[in-house]
Structure formats: C-alpha cells, structure tokens
Amino acid sequence: MTGLAVDLVFQLMQMTLVILIAPLLTGLVRAVKARLTRRRGPPLLQPYRDLARLVRKEAVVADSASWLFRTTPYVVLAATWVAAALIPTFATGLLFSWSADLIAIVALLGSARFFLALAGLDVGTSFGGLGASREAMFASLAEPAMIVIVFSLALIAGSTQLSTVAAAMTSGVGLRVTLGMALIALVIVAIAENGRIPVDNPATHLELTMVHEAMILEYSGRHLAVIELASMLKLTLYVSLIVCVFVPWGIAIADAGVGDRLAGAAFYVAKLGVAGVLLGVFETSIAKMRVFRVPDFLGAALMLGFLGALLLFVSRTLK
C-alpha cells in the first residue's frame, strides 16, 4: 500500500512539475530570443506574472459567444495537462503511465485543438474563423506526421507505451537512420504544433499572419490565462516528449529509488533548459514562412516519418 502511495505521490509530482515549469520554459525562450536580438527582454519569471495578472482580471465575453466559448479554455487545459502528465519526464513507469499510450497522447492534443478551433469560430468574427481554418489545415498534416513517427518509435521499442519506449531507448538501441528521420520529423511537428517561427509567430498581432493568436483573439482575463497556460504546457509537453525519446539519459527507470527519481528530475530540468535555449536560437535564426509554404514544411515531416516507418516495417517485426 505504501508502494501505491509513493507511486501516487510521484504521479502527482509529475503533474505539478510540468504545470509549474511550463511558464518558466516559455520565459526562457523569450529571454534567449531577446538577448540574441540585443534587447534586454522581460525577466525570466514574467510569464508567471502575466498569468497571475490575467487571472485576477474580469473576463470580457462577446455577446454572441455561447457556453462553449467559456468552457473551452478549461477543456483545452485539461486535455493538454493530462497528455503532459502521461509523458515520462523524470521517471518512467509512473502510476498512470499505462492509462494512455503515445497514440492517445496525440489524440488528446487533437481534442484540445478541436475545441480551440471551435472556440475560434464561436464568436463569429472573421479573425477567429481565419485562425481556426488555418489551424485545421496545419493539423491535417501535422497529426498524420505525428502518427507515422509513433509508428517508427513503436516498432523500435515494441510498444506504443511511452514508458516502454523511453526504457527501450535508455537500454540502447544504437544509432539508426530511422531514429534520425523520426527526430527531424518530430521537431518539425513540434514547431508547427506550438506555433513557433517559422510556422507561426507567437509574438505577432499583425492581423494577416496570425494563426494561433487569431483563434484566441476574443479571449480575455482568466480564460486567456488558462489558454496561455495550456499553450505553454503544450510546448513543455513536446520538449519533454523529444527529450524522453531521444535523450532519455538520466531518467529514472520504473522501480528506481527515490534518490534516482530526484536525480531524474534535476536531469529533466537541465534538459528542458538546453532545449529552451536551442529553440530560442533556432527561432532567431530563421524567418517566418508564408502560410502556404507550411504544408510543404509539414509534408516533409510526413514524408520523413513515413519513410522511417516504411524502413522499419520491412526490416523488423513487433516484439
């Protein structure tokens, strides 16, 4: 019974960790970008202050909005949070890690996007529709790309369960061409899904270039705070996913002791920091692309993922 309690504590710790660290990661990326463009930039903790300020403000809701508009932020946050909680960050084999596999995590993010796109359409303004329609187009390519990447990982690890995948990767599967393909494809998908440059600019409010921002244009106050938190969480989720699959070293394998798990947490935070810096550097060094170049960009991810999966399909059997 104590084992179960300890497991439960670690599962809750994971959920708390991801949601607490998410604004920090966003703050880090912003700080790196600011320094690289020779600005002083906001302090690292600014996202927390933004969220705290937004939460205390009253929410202004458009007259034509339905109940869906007011529920969506919580649905989006819940789906993203559950998905993030299921990704092994500092330890594999957490209590609830078997309740959903990687396909389900992708689908949970799909649920979040589904409701966000609906919220974009709910108020009945042209910007909301614009954001929703473009998001739908990106998603229609990013999601299959993600699924074929899942195919590759599942075939290498013998399971779609992320804990198993991470454990298989730590035990050493060697350098593989297919892994490289999957990594590139996954990075492209992560960039597109999080609306980072070159696909979308998280800092823009220039009307015609917005995608994600256009969908949430009508949100204010606590609703906006919740949606912002959800998108920070999503960034953390994707970074954690890449980290746990491709650089799993330091992660505590199931049944590891408390000390190993705490060490795993330290490793995890360090890895997030490195990833945040890399993302900042990448975003500064590249220009945003036109909306209709994005399908080519995502199509490349789809093709790479598919080629990787194809190679694995013909070369091995699922254990």
């Binding site: 649920s111 699924i147 598919f306």
Partner: protein, 670 residues
C-alpha cells in the same frame, strides 16, 4: 420459442405493420402509431439479438417451407448475424424514437410510413438468411424499400436523379452478388450457405466470387469508385431514414462482405486482401476530402459515411490478410477494430443525421451558409451533436478513438506479414488512416462550427427553436452510448469476442481481466489505453482548474460586443463560411483530388459591376469513369435500337440464330 424464431416473428410483424401502414397512413396519428410500433419491434429485435450475442448460443437454424421449392427458406443465427442485428436494431430503435417527434413534420406520410418498417424488416432478414435465395430477396427488398424512402419527396430538385442513380447502382450491386453466389454454389447449384461452406470453390473461382462480392457489397456500402450514388441518395431521404441508410444499411453491406469473405469462400488467400486494403484507404481519403468540400450539412455526413466505410474495409482487409498469413491473434484484433468501428459509426452517424434533421426542422435549411449560432438557440441539440462530432473525429475519451486506436494497433502488427507486398502496403494504409483521421477532425470542426457557432447567417437560423422531446431523447441516448462505449471499451471488446472467434478463429485477450478497465490489443504487446481514467482525469483536472480560478482569483464576467481587432459591429456576412473554412485544405489537396478551378473576376477600380468568385470542383470518379461509361452504354443502346424495329420474320431468324449459337457453345463446352 428460440431466439431465431423470435427474430423471424418480429420481422414478420414489421412486414405486417408495413401493410397496415398503407391503409392508415393518411389518418391523423398514423405516424405515432407506426413509429411507436417499429420502436417496440426494434427494441424486441434488439433484445433478442443481444441475448443471442451475449448468451453465446451456438448457431440456431430454421427452415421454412417458402421460397425455392427444393431449397426452402433457410435461416441461421450465429454470433456474426447477432452482432450486426444488434447494430441494425439499435439504429432502428433510435430512428423510430426520433421519428416519433420528427415524423410529425412529414409532408407526405403516405410515402414514408409504409416503407419504413419494410426497410427495417429487409435489413433484419438479410442478416439471418442462410441461403442465397433468401439473402438476395431480402437484399433487394432492403434496396427497394430504401429507394422508395429516398423518393419520398420526389418533386424536390435533385431527388429524382438521386433515386435513378441509386436504383441503377443497387441493381448493379445485386447483380454482382447474384453472380458471386452463382459461382459459390458451383455447377451443383447448392444455394444453401451450408452447401457452400461444405464445398468451397477452387482458388480462381473463389477469387472471382470475392471480387464480385466486393463489388456487390461495396456498392451498397459506398466503396470507391462505386460510392457516387451514396451522397446523392442518403441526404435526399427524410433524416431518420438518412440515419438508417448511412448508419445501418452500410453495415448490412459490411456484413454481407464479411459473411462471404470469411465464411463462404473457404480458405482465404493473402492476395485478396491487397485490393481491399487499397480500396478501403482510397475510399476513406476520397470520402473525407469530399466531406470537407460540401456545403450541405447532410451531404457532409453522407461523404463522411464513405470515409468511415473505407476505414472499416481497411480493418476487414487487414483481418483477412492476417488470417491468411496464419496470424489469428492479429486477425482477431483487426476484425474487432472493424466491428467496433461499425458499431461506433452506427451510433454517431445516426446521431449526427438526427441532428441535421433537427436543424432542418428548426430552420428549414440544410445549407451551412444559411445557418449559424444554433448552439445558443438549440442548446440540447447542439450539445448532442457536439458529442457526435467529437466522437466521429476520434477524440478521446469517446468511442471513435477506441476503434481507430485498435485499428492503428493492428497496423503496427504489419511487420509480421511474411509477404513483401503487405509489409509495404500496411504502413501506407496506416498513413492514410492517420491522414483521414486528421482530416475528419477538420471536417467536423467545420460541420459543427459553421452551423452551430458564430452568429446566425439568416433569419431562419436566428429564429430557430429547440426541437421536440422525442428527437432529443433519441439524440441524447445515442450521445450517451458514444460516451459509454468510449469509457468502457473493454466491455464492447469482450462482447465482440464470440464474433471474432467465429470469423477469425481467435480472439483478443479477455479485457475484463485487465485491471482498472484498461484495454490491451494483444497479450504480448504492452500497449494499453484506459478510456475511463482519461475521462476522469480530464473532468477532474478541468474542474479543478476552473474551481481554483473561480474561488481564488476572479469569477467576474462582462458581456460586450466582440473585439475583432477593433473592427466595429461587422455584419454576420463577414464570418468565415463553410467554403472559406476549407479553402486552405482545398488549396493543399484540391488540385489533384478535385481538379479544382478557382476564378476570380475582380472589376477595375471605378467599375460598378460586382466581383465574381467562381469555384468549380469536379469529382474525378464521375469524369473519368461514369461519364465515359454512360456514353458507351448510350452508344451501344443506339446501335441496338435497330433491333426494336425488325419484321417478325427477321425476329424469328434472330431467335433461331441465337438458339443455334447457344447449342454450338454447349456442344463445344468441355
């Protein structure tokens, strides 16, 4: 009385009801009487079929002394029939309940009421038929009854053409099935299914029979390129009939295919599965892309039916391939995915057609460009339709996700195939399934977002009111079933076990033994999914976030005009429409799928004529296949037309020549 007799008795009662309905159809209260009776009979049929499925009784047989004199009419109830009978009668009961309210608005009850019970009876008899004669008679009965229902509003524009195309395709499909059964019966003419099972045909004949079955059942199910009638005919019928045709009749076609491919043709060959997989994947993609382009709500749903039928055929093809390759465990997984998806599609597609009917009742509109803002005016309908849209978009924790998850798990077993063709084909099919799922999500954001969200685009939409209680009850029940099947998928999978065993010879591991109500695809795999926990987590974390914020931060809310980047009070016409929502996707995929042409005629500054934006989307299947086919048939008919104007002597010599030619062929036959 055993369960098979009970089923037959209910079917007979449905037929009798159909006859009674002819005489009472014009009286007031006839609608309530007929639909009440079909509701009771469907519920009875559902109970009997469920009892047979859950009770795991061995196959029951019955022979009635009607039909062909030396065969009789044979009926048989096994697990496969029982499962599909559950699907059919679940849909039938829901449609009857819905029609208790919806049917009151029927303009011409006399054209609908007599055929509705007959349609239900036809579908039910197909499922328990045990010889080719009963099967084909019931099949044709089902086709003609549904044709009559499609033609109920025959004076509306487009309906007559839809009916004509449907009739041609249905006859063609039945012909293909007739020939398939002819091949299976062999020279001895054993038309009973028992005789076919006892003497499976040679490999070449079996392949031909299976191809014919694919054409015959596929044309009814909507498999590309035989799908063209479906988006014309399904939306033309009254909405509860559309729900039955899309949600249920396509499943009868799937049943026919599974019955022939897995039961009657003998040992399967893996080569057969390749065309099924390819056709299924192509159908799914074509269906969902067309669904994204439609602007009529019911046509969106009809095209989405094609998509889902494609997915079901993909899973069936995988099951056939696994079975032929000696991998029964994987075959059971794929077959369970197919059956689960068939059940799911029956649930959410019926729900969505009911929703479209409710919108039609409330506003008189099916064109999405005239709707908008209905969620505020029809909250209950909106909520149920939203559930259906989320389910069909394969979002966890609803049921659509579970069947797609099982399908992807089956695809991940693809490397076990010994054949290179299948090793290469499976990941391609997997990518197509993933692409389809993503596009379906986009499609149902659009199908829900444009009519139900935003601001009303017409007066009718602005004045919409919530529909009656019967319609809401039917939609609510189906929405609840979508959630239940998604949250407790293990129960459904375990219920499907006898069907999987009967069809593939193996079953998925017993899900009830897995702790915490998780599901796992095969015993060796360590993948699992737990719908209940995902559902509880989402509810708990969402509720927690909301309550913490409301309690400790702010719950103040102010209503104000929309911000819209500061543009004041724009007209509802500035909202995104169905066409503009899918424009990016059309630009990405449309070029080669639809040969889409966009023409923009923008007047020069100072000119007063209006700007014209013209969009032409063509269906390559019509252009490349049916139009040439129609021309060829027309040309041949023109040539043969001369035969109608011969003298009696010439006719006699033609008959004589034909007789001599046939006798010569017979004499030369080995």
């Amino acid at each position: 009385m055993n369960l098979l007799q009970a089923l037959l008795a209910c079917d007979a009662a449905l037929l009798a009801l159909s006859v009674v309905a002819v005489s009472v159809a014009r009286r007031s209260g006839a609608s309530a009487f007929v639909y009440g009776a079909t509701l009771a009979l469907s519920a009875a049929l559902l109970a009997a079929a469920a009892a047979a499925l859950i009770g795991r009784a061995g196959p029951a047989r019955l022979t009635l002394p009607i039909g062909l004199p030396w065969v009789g009419a044979n009926f048989r109830l096994d697990a496969l029939s029982a499962f599909f009978a559950v699907v059919v009668n679940l849909g039938g009961a829901a449609a009857s309940l819905y029609a208790l309210g919806y049917g009151r608005h029927e303009r011409e009850p006399a054209r609908v009421l007599p055929f509705f019970p007959a349609f239900l009876a036809g579908m039910n008899v197909v499922l328990i038929a045990d010889d080719a004669y009963v099967f084909l008679v019931a099949w044709e009965f089902m086709s003609l009854a549904s044709w009559a229902l499609v033609m109920a509003h025959h004076r509306d524009s487009g309906v007559a053409r839809a009916g004509f195309v449907y009739l041609v395709m249905a006859s063609f499909g039945t012909l293909a099935l007739l020939l398939a059964f002819g091949l299976l019966a062999g020279a001895g003419g054993g038309y009973g299914f028992d005789a076919m099972r006892a003497a499976p045909p040679a490999a070449g004949v079996a392949a031909l029979a299976l191809a014919l079955a694919l054409v015959g059942a596929g044309s009814k199910a909507g498999l590309a390129p035989l799908h063209v009638w479906l988006p014309l005919a399904h939306p033309a019928a009254p909405s509860h009939v559309s729900a039955l045709m899309s949600g249920v009749m396509t499943k009868v076609a799937v049943y026919a295919f599974i019955r022939i491919a897995f039961d009657l043709v003998g040992r399967p060959d893996w080569r057969w599965s390749a065309p099924i997989l390819a056709l299924g994947a192509a159908t799914a993609l074509i269906g969902v892309l067309h669904a994204l382009m439609q602007t009529d709500l019911k046509r969106v749903l009809a095209y989405s039916t094609i998509e889902n039928v494609g997915l079901i055929f993909v899973a069936v093809g995988l099951a056939l391939a696994f079975k032929a390759s000696g991998l029964p465990g994987a075959a059971a997984l794929a077959m369970t995915a197919a059956l689960f998806h068939a059940l799911n599609h029956a649930l959410f597609k019926s729900l969505l057609f009911f929703g479209a009917g409710a919108v039609l009742t409330a506003t008189g509109e099916r064109r999405m460009g005239r709707l908008g803002g209905l969620l505020n005016r029809m909250p209950a309908t909106g909520f149920f339709v939203l559930t259906g849209c989320a389910a069909i978009a394969a979002l966890p924790p609803l049921n659509g996700f579970v069947s797609e998850w099982l399908m992807l798990q089956a695809i991940l077993l693809g490397p076990q195939f010994p054949q290179w063709t299948l090793k290469l084909l499976t990941p391609a099919v997997g990518a197509a399934v993933a692409l389809t799922a993503a596009l379906a999500a986009a499609c149902f954001v659009r199908a829900f977002g444009i009519p139900f969200l935003g601001r009303p685009r017409s007066d009718e939409a602005a004045k919409a009111r919530e529909v009656d209680r019967f319609s809401l009850a039917a939609m609510g029940a189906l929405a609840a079933l979508c959630l239940l099947a998604g949250v407790f998928p293990g129960v459904v999978i375990d219920t499907l076990k006898p069907v999987a065993v009967a069809v593939t010879g193996a079953a998925m591991p017993l899900q009830a033994e897995i702790p915490w109500l998780s599901i796992a695809p095969i015993a060796e795999s360590r993948s699992s999914y737990n719908g209940l926990l995902v559902f509880l987590f989402i509810v708990a974390s969402g509720a927690m976030a909301a309550s913490v914020i409301h309690r400790f931060a702010s719950d103040a809310l102010r209503r104000a005009p929309a911000w819209d980047c500061g543009f004041p009070d724009s007209s509802p016409a500035t909202q995104y429409t169905a066409e503009s929502f899918s424009q990016p996707i059309r630009r990405v995929f449309g070029g080669y799928v639809f040969r889409g042409r966009e023409r923009l005629d923008m007047p020069a500054p100072g000119e007063t004529r209006p700007a014209v934006h013209q969009l032409v989307l063509r269906d390559p299947v019509w252009d490349g296949f049916y139009t040439p086919l129609g021309e060829i048939v027309g040309a041949i008919a023109t040539r043969l037309n001369r035969l109608q104007f011969l003298t009696i002597r010439q006719y006699l010599s033609v008959v004589f020549a034909a007789l001599v030619a046939l006798l010569l062929i017979l004499a030369a036959w080995p």
